[in-house]
Amino acid sequence: MRVTNQESDNLYADMILKVLGAKSRGDGSFAGGVAAVRDVMRELGVPAAGYAAVDGSGLARDSKLSAAAIVALLEAMDRHPLGPVYKDSLAIGGRDGTLRKRFREPQVAGRVHAKTGSLDGVSALSGYVDSVSGEPFAFATLVNSEKGDRRRETRTGSSASWPGSRRDEWESRSRRRARPRRRHRGRPARG
C-alpha cells in the first residue's frame, strides 16, 4: 500500500484491486476487484453515485471519482480502526513519495498526507492536512486544466521529477512536447 500510495504506482494499484477481488470474492479480475471495492465503499458510507471504477489505477477513462466522494472516503477512513495505517500509507508533504518536493516550507512540511492524481491536463491532490493550530481536515482538489499551458505551469514549491515512476504521466509528456497531446476531457481524476 505504501508503494502504491506514496509513489503512485499504477501497476501496484491494479494488482491490489485484483487481489482484493480474489480474496473477498474469489474473482481476481478487474470486475471482481471493483465489486469488492463497491462492498467496502458501501460499508464506509460512500455514496455509490459519487464514483465509478473499472480499474485500480484510475487510468481507465471510465474510472471517476467526485471530490465529495473522495472526502467522504477520507472521513470514513479517519474514523476507521485502520485509519492510522491508511493515513500512514499516503505521501507526506516535504518528506516522502510524490510529495517529497512539494509542501516543503517549514510551516507546512509534514502537515499534508495526500495522494496525487496526474494525467495530461489533470492535476489532483486529496488527503489530510493539519492546520497550524492542529485542526485536522480532509480535502480533495481536482483540477482539469484543459486549456492551461503546462509549459508555463507553476508549482508553488519545487518541481518534482521521479524518473521511472509512473505517477506523473503528464510530466514526462510535457518534456516531450513535440508529441501530440492526449486529451482527457471530462475526466475528473485519476486514482
Binding site: E105, S131, V132, T156
Partner: protein, 87 residues
Amino acid sequence: MKLESTVKVVARGPAGITARLDGDTLSVGGTVVSGSSSATSLVSLEGARLFGAVALAAFAERGLSAAQGFRMPQNGEVAGRAVLVKL
C-alpha cells in the same frame, strides 16, 4: 463566517466560480479564466491564477497560510472542484 468571505473574494474573479459552505464543508466548483484573484495573495502564490486557490484560501483561513505545492497553469482555463472538510 470568515471562510465564506474568503470565497466571496475569489468569486469576484473572472468567471464562473460557485462556492457553497455547509457547516465545516467548503465546496467550490466551476471555471476560472486567467486573471487576478485576491485569494492568491492570501497564500503567496505569486500571481498564479487557479481554481484551486479557492481551496488554498480556505486552508489559509484555517491557519495554513503557507500551504503550497499545488500545481497550476499560469494562464489558460482551469476547471475543477474542491472539497475541504473539518474532521
